[in-house]
């Protein structure tokens, strides 16, 4: 089984380079699914998102979910990067790249990663509003719990 590449960083990441690194040298990859999560401007009301995280636990939880994905699907490459700190509209927050022989495996693994990363990895988003009003913490969504639960047994 391959080792996943997991990174938690306050720097912007280069999605293209990450994908190229993952594919490079493996001529057996037939499918790559790349998920990118971006900061929306919420119709101009948002000036930035502030991503708080729990150092150490964040990396550990993402690595655990990545390990679970690798146990479920025969992946040939897996990269997960999550940013923290201040992130402006249009900037990338999270990246998942899953490579496999066939597309089904790559699609499922990357969706699985995102569903559990949402509900398990200790990150919290706070909104900074463009009108200067006090921004609030983004509320967790029940739909995210539902998305994670469709994969069967909890991975925790």
């Amino acid at each position: 089984m391959i080792a996943p590449n997991v990174r938690v960083t306050n720097e912007p990441f280069d999605a293209y380079r990450e994908e190229a690194l993952l594919i490079e040298g493996c001529r057996d990859i037939g499918a790559v699914v790349t998920f990118t999560g971006l900061c929306r401007d919420e119709a101009g009301t948002l000036v930035a998102l502030e991503l708080e995280h729990f150092p150490g636990m964040a990396e550990q939880e993402i690595a655990a979910v990545a390990g679970e994905a690798l146990a479920r699907w025969p992946l040939l490459g897996l990269t997960v990067i999550h940013r923290y700190g201040l992130i402006g509209p249009g900037e990338k927050i999270v990246l998942v790249v899953a490579a496999a022989r066939h597309r089904g495996e790559a699609f499922q693994a990357s969706e699985f990663l995102m569903d559990f990363l949402k509900t398990r990895a200790p990150f919290w988003k706070k909104e900074h509003r463009s009108d200067g009003a006090a921004g609030g913490w983004v509320e967790a969504k029940a739909s995210d719990d539902a998305a994670a639960s469709r994969w069967g047994k909890d991975t925790s």
Partner: protein
């Protein structure tokens, strides 16, 4: 043991972390939350909505009935909103 607070919990408690020394009768996460909530206004506010509090013992998600006796560090935070 070390207590860590994140996001809205951190803002309400007013500090990022502290050393705590709960009485022996406080045996699990649920009891520790009750004890913390009794420590003052900020704590009461931070832990008012019990269902919106998550805990981690030594960087692992912990259920309400998880024993805290051997914990070196316990963190409290709202449901995650990353990704």
């Amino acid at each position: 043991m070390r207590a860590l607070y994140f996001a809205s919990v951190r803002e309400r408690v007013g500090i990022t972390e502290e050393e705590i020394d709960p009485p022996k009768s406080v045996a699990n996460v649920a009891q520790l939350i009750d004890w913390l909530a009794s420590r003052g206004e900020g704590y009461a506010e931070a832990f008012a909505n019990r269902t919106a509090i998550r805990a981690a013992i030594d960087k692992n998600h912990a259920r309400r009935d998880a024993p805290i006796a051997s914990a070196r560090e316990i963190a409290f935070f709202p449901p995650m909103t990353g990704g």
